[in-house]
């Protein structure tokens, strides 16, 4: 059994990425994720890896595009305003079917916003990672340990489906320390016969490209990608159900909000209210089925987010109007408190404790 150590979320992610076989990291400093770069800068030279501080988030993401094209496991990380800058490269990465991992330790927005924890980039991650018809895998860890697990899975699934995977965390998860165990796992990235790494006169030249000037060809390629998305929805959706079996009020929350919600659900149970929690672990694909299954059994859903309400739209779509879907959130870097969520649960239960 591997040793349990105390680690900051940002550092644990970096270590997990290295253990997942990432040897090429391209970063740019921004609060509250800079520790990822600092950790990589320290570790990579010692293990023959590459840490490069780029001239901008734009360049860092394009370096990832280049390294991914060459067939290696590669990663970049940033926080909200920096992710906006990376979106250009993310689009080309999606359009070129390249695997990589992108970390977003979210902070308050819009604009320069703030530096405290936020979940206001949900739409950006799940709805519009770029221009064009496109998705990327989006994982939402709720603890330092889960960040470690999901980073490994993100690399594996990115390779499997040849698409980018985002770890969507927040300032609290990045900055906090929790005990974490790194399981020794055999890393076997798949062969990448499509990579542009020099054909050595043994095969035809490979092209990494997102340009299809003929509309019928572009349509065909996008449709093929969407067939892949359907397969991913079937196979890779992840969700945690907590005390939902008999629940009258189900809170839907992810990441740090889910931890607050879980405490509130426990307190509600202690007060005699049948509360439960559905915690999406993948935000794209979104665990719509888990919500749909409960929609005709609950009094109400309560979506809790560190935003003005974004995931709540997915919850509404999944509930198909069979149950009311309410929202409670704080934004700008504020974190909902357990009591605030508890009071909302009580209200939705009909006011009875």
């Amino acid at each position: 059994m591997a040793e349990k150590v105390l680690m900051k979320g940002n550092e644990a992610i970096a270590e997990a990425a290295i253990r997942a076989g990432c040897r090429h990291f391209f970063g740019y400093p921004i609060t509250p994720q800079t520790e990822v770069s600092a950790y990589m800068a320290k570790k990579m030279p010692k293990i023959g890896g590459v840490f490069l501080q780029a001239e901008s988030e734009i360049a860092a993401a394009n370096m990832v595009l280049g390294a991914a094209s060459a067939g290696v496991r590669t990663m970049t990380s940033s926080s909200s305003p920096g992710i906006s800058l990376k979106q250009e490269a993310i689009s080309y990465i999606i359009g070129s079917d390249l695997p990589c991992v992108i970390l977003n330790i979210q902070r308050g927005g819009p604009g320069l916003g703030g530096i405290q924890p936020s979940q206001a980039d949900y739409f950006q991650a799940t709805r519009s990672p770029d221009h064009g018809d496109a998705h990327m895998l989006v994982f939402a860890p709720a603890s330092v340990q889960e960040m470690v697990t999901l980073v490994t899975d993100a690399f594996d699934l990115a390779d499997k489906y040849r698409m980018p995977a985002m770890i969507l965390g927040d300032g609290a998860l990045g900055q906090m320390m929790e005990p974490v165990v790194f399981e020794d796992k055999e890393i076997t990235p798949p062969e990448k016969p499509w990579a542009t790494n020099g054909h050595e006169n043994k095969r035809a030249h490979n092209i990494v490209n997102s340009l299809y000037i003929q509309p019928d060809e572009l349509e065909r390629i996008v449709k093929e990608r969407f067939e892949k998305y359907e397969e991913i929805k079937k196979n890779e959706t992840r969700v945690e159900n907590f005390m939902t079996d008999d629940a009258d009020v189900i809170v839907v929350a992810y990441g740090i909000a889910a931890r607050v919600a879980k405490s509130a659900v426990r307190n509600a149970r202690a007060a005699g209210i049948k509360a439960g929690l559905i915690r999406p672990i993948t935000l794209w694909p979104f665990p719509a089925e888990a919500i749909k299954e409960k929609a005709d059994k609950v009094k109400a859903f309560l979506t809790v987010e560190l935003s003005m309400g974004q995931m709540v739209e997915d919850v509404k779509l999944a509930a198909e109007f069979k149950a009311p879907v309410e929202f409670f959130g704080r934004t700008g870097g504020m974190v909902p408190t357990t009591d605030e969520v508890f009071n909302e649960i009580v209200r939705l239960n009909g006011g009875n404790k």
């Binding site: 349990k4 150590v5 105390l6 609060t31 509250p32 530096i115 405290q116 300032g171 609290a172 900055q175 906090m176 320390m177 929790e178 005990p179 740090i256 931890r259 607050v260 919600a261 879980k262 405490s263 509130a264 426990r266 974190v335 408190t337 357990t338």
Partner: protein, 181 residues
């Protein structure tokens, strides 16, 4: 307060070792195989402004890592006292560095301890270890974990394993532990 869950809110100036104090508590929890979380304030305020840190040590899975109503509050400057004095849960504990905080708590529903930690550290040639003096007093009055575990945690945090640092830490800890108002 759930007696298997200990929530700490530690507050002071940047540079007082507030985060380190939190880390010592967290590592002690780790040594006892507890659930735990350590959440610092971060950003510009770290550069010499106010600084605080939430630590939870528990037998149960930890929900929100943010501690708003601590079972144990430690304040090491006046602004932190003004801000957090009311935060401690009823029945909880508040520890105040009385060399830097002139106010007295008017709370009657909690246990309040005044320790001139900064002066004690300075007088004993332990400048910069007021945080450890505080830790000693906390362990005495609010024994969330065995004293031995906390001392071991301090030793573990001494990464280069310098005997001189361990000796100074232990001395600072004992000064706090044995301090009587």
């Amino acid at each position: 307060m759930n007696n298997t869950t200990h929530t700490f809110l530690l507050a002071g100036f940047g540079g007082q070792g507030i985060l380190f104090l939190g880390k010592a508590i967290a590592v002690a929890g780790l040594l006892e195989d507890k659930e735990l979380s350590w959440l610092p304030s971060y950003g510009p305020e770290m550069r010499g402004g106010t600084c605080n840190c939430s630590v939870t040590v528990s037998d149960e899975e930890i929900g929100s890592p943010q501690v708003l109503t601590p079972s144990c509050l430690v304040v090491m400057n006046q602004p932190s006292f003004d801000k957090f004095d009311k935060a401690t849960v009823a029945g909880g504990y508040t520890f105040i560095d009385s060399s830097l905080v002139s106010s007295k708590s008017e709370r009657t529903d909690i246990s309040v301890f005044y320790i001139p930690a900064t002066s004690l550290a300075n007088e004993n040639g332990l400048k910069g270890l007021a945080n450890i003096v505080m830790l000693g007093k906390i362990c005495k009055e609010y024994p969330f974990l065995p004293k031995e575990t906390v001392l071991k945690a301090l030793e573990k945090n001494n990464k280069k394993n310098l005997p001189e640092i361990t000796e100074r830490n232990n001395r600072a800890f004992d000064i706090g532990y044995n301090y009587a108002e």
